[in-house]
């Protein structure tokens, strides 16, 4: 199939990316605008020898996905805002038990049932903070169909490498939009397996803070719990154990940003920097392709935010304009880095109505900023 050119919908590209990455378990519950992922999987899974189950809701979908991962599967689910909210508790379980799995959130207008048929980027902060308790997360935001495919592969790879849930932040427009993609060879990462045979615990984490994965059914007799647990896996009420565990699961993501973060920069020497991700980044690109005064910083990894690269990108810029299809969510994260880097003029172009900001709208926001100065 490599090299083949396909004309695909965003949701379909996510499915193909997942299958390429080795996804062999899918559990989900229908919800617009993610439903096609489930529907296409319902055909593709049996074709590729995997298992698909339509669960009774999103609580159980994510639970089945995590359960399957412990059974050795590469597993995924997809949903949209309301379902993503319902998954939050169990995403936290995947975090603390260090379970690889991929969650696609095809964002629509919110809050609540909101605008099921309109795209939005209102779940950016939720992806980072939606589950309770101190933790960190990886989330990727594709801008085109090619990235729907490639970042899904990447999501599985990161998830396997760091033993952590990875979130893909798509939206209702990208999900249904179609473009041509060419299937390229991408290296696949598989989780490191626990040493064969019945090994006594613990096996130390590697230098990235990740321990090998004791897949069930191989005689490791592992106990896995969402309670704080020592390195042996047993529950512990010890405060030191808790502190250590949480620092490690946060650290393995936050301390490995260099390995995790992907981003794109255009016109690095421009005076004005636009920061955008997902579809709005295409409007921004329109601007920067035509006007060298404007540069683009486009995080494909929104969490952890590629702060180092961003700070580099702000060198000598006069202003930073963040473009978002929400009230300014990633804006808050960016603002602190921008101010810290010494940029004084930080602005926001926020669209809340379900439409993609046009290049014109972005330029208008930019103009407003300069007036504000």
């Amino acid at each position: 199939m490599m090299g083949e050119e396909l004309f695909l919908q965003g949701n379909r590209a996510v499915v193909e990316g997942a299958l390429y990455a080795g996804c062999n378990f899918y559990a989900g519950y229908p919800i617009c605008p993610s439903t096609e992922i489930l529907e296409i999987m319902a055909t593709r899974m049996p074709e590729t020898g995997g298992t698909l189950i339509q669960m009774e809701d999103e609580l159980s979908s994510i639970a089945a996905v995590i359960g399957a991962s412990w059974g050795g599967a590469k597993s995924m689910t997809a949903t949209s805002g309301p379902g993503f909210s319902l998954m939050q508790e169990n995403i936290g379980y995947a975090v603390i038990t260090e379970t690889p799995c991929v969650i696609v959130d095809v964002q629509r207008g919110g809050p609540s049932t909101g605008q099921p048929t309109l795209p939005a980027h209102g779940d950016i902060m939720q992806a980072r903070w939606g589950t309770h308790g101190s933790h960190s997360i990886i989330a990727l935001a594709p801008s085109n169909i090619k990235e729907c495919y490639e970042l899904t592969v990447e999501a599985f790879n990161l998830s396997e490498r760091f033993r952590t849930p990875v979130i893909i932040l798509s939206d209702g427009e990208l999900a249904h939009m179609r473009e041509r993609i060419k299937l390229e060879d991408i290296p696949i990462v598989n989780r490191e397996q626990f040493p064969e045979g019945k090994v006594s615990f613990p096996v130390d984490p590697n230098e990235e803070g990740v321990s090998p994965f004791p897949t069930f059914g191989r005689g490791h007799r592992t106990h896995v719990t969402g309670l704080s647990h020592s390195i042996v896996g047993y529950p512990s009420e010890d405060t030191e154990v808790q502190g250590k565990l949480i620092r490690r699961i946060i650290g393995k993501i936050d301390d490995n940003k260099d390995a995790i973060c992907k981003y794109e920069t255009i016109n690095p020497d421009a005076k004005h920097l636009i920061v955008a991700y997902g579809l709005p980044a295409r409007s921004a690109k329109d601007i920067v392709q035509q006007n060298e005064d404007f540069g683009l910083f486009r995080p494909m990894t929104v969490w952890p935010f590629p702060s180092k690269a961003f700070i580099r990108a702000t060198e000598d810029v006069e202003s930073v304009l963040v473009v978002e299809m929400n009230e300014g969510q990633l804006f808050r994260e960016i603002e602190r880095y921008a101010y810290r880097a010494g940029v004084e003029n930080v602005g926001l172009c926020s669209k809340l109505d379900g439409e993609i900001p046009t290049p014109q709208e972005i330029m208008e926001s930019h103009a407003d900023m300069e007036v504000d100065q």
């Binding site: 004309f7 179609r178 060419k182 255009i266 295409r282």
Partner: protein, 201 residues
């Protein structure tokens, strides 16, 4: 003109999203004769036109107004949606109300006279796609009649590309009907006055 923006609009059930995908697919996968585009960002795109197909969909229930759009270009397409279309196809009264006025003087407006009551203020073409399709055997093929007409009036893709894409997408049992529908549309389109010129180099 290195980019063309096409909007098809009507009501759910007319197969306009399908039609837009067929057209987009034709342009994207079957029009490889055109200049190879490379640039830094998309350097892996090796051939063909840049194409983006988008749509709005109402709530799951049928009957509401739909809109499907195709943007075709020799350059990378950044902003993916159609703002003011170069080609506007109207197949229901509601779609006329919603989108009929959003055109520029150069836009080609195509109306199905049997499903749209009102008429645009500016210039427009009438393609009786629904009636034609019924005559061919099933009004469901009205979308393909329209596509044939659009192709005839724009040269945006070859008729063969369109048919190939159609065959990829639709069940074999319908290929004959739809092929005929495309041809009929092409014929009707050619008869029509309005034309728009694309330049795929």
């Amino acid at each position: 003109m290195d980019t063309i923006e096409i909007r098809l609009s009507g009501f759910g059930g007319q197969g306009l999203i399908m039609a837009s995908v067929v057209l987009a697919r034709a342009a994207s996968l079957y029009e490889s004769k055109h200049v190879v585009q490379t640039d830094d960002q998309y350097k892996r795109e090796e051939s063909g036109l840049y194409v983006v197909q988008t749509q709005t969909f109402g709530s799951g229930v049928r009957g509401s107004a739909t809109k499907a759009e195709v943007k075709i270009s020799t350059k990378e397409i950044t902003f993916p949606e159609v703002t003011i279309p170069d080609v506007l196809v109207l197949m229901s009264e509601a779609s006329f109300v919603k989108f009929g006025e959003n055109v520029k003087p150069t836009s080609l407006v195509i109306v199905d006279p049997d499903t749209v009551k009102s008429r645009p203020g500016g210039e427009y073409c009438e393609i009786p796609a629904t009636v034609m399709a019924s005559e061919l055997g099933n009004k469901i093929a009205a979308n393909m009649v329209m596509l044939g007409a659009v192709v005839a009036m724009t040269d945006v893709v070859e008729v063969d590309s369109l048919k190939s894409a159609m065959k990829d997408m639709l069940p074999p049992a319908t290929h004959e009907l739809n092929s005929k529908a495309v041809d009929k549309g092409f014929e009707l389109g050619n008869e029509c006055g309005g034309r728009i010129q694309v330049d795929w180099g």
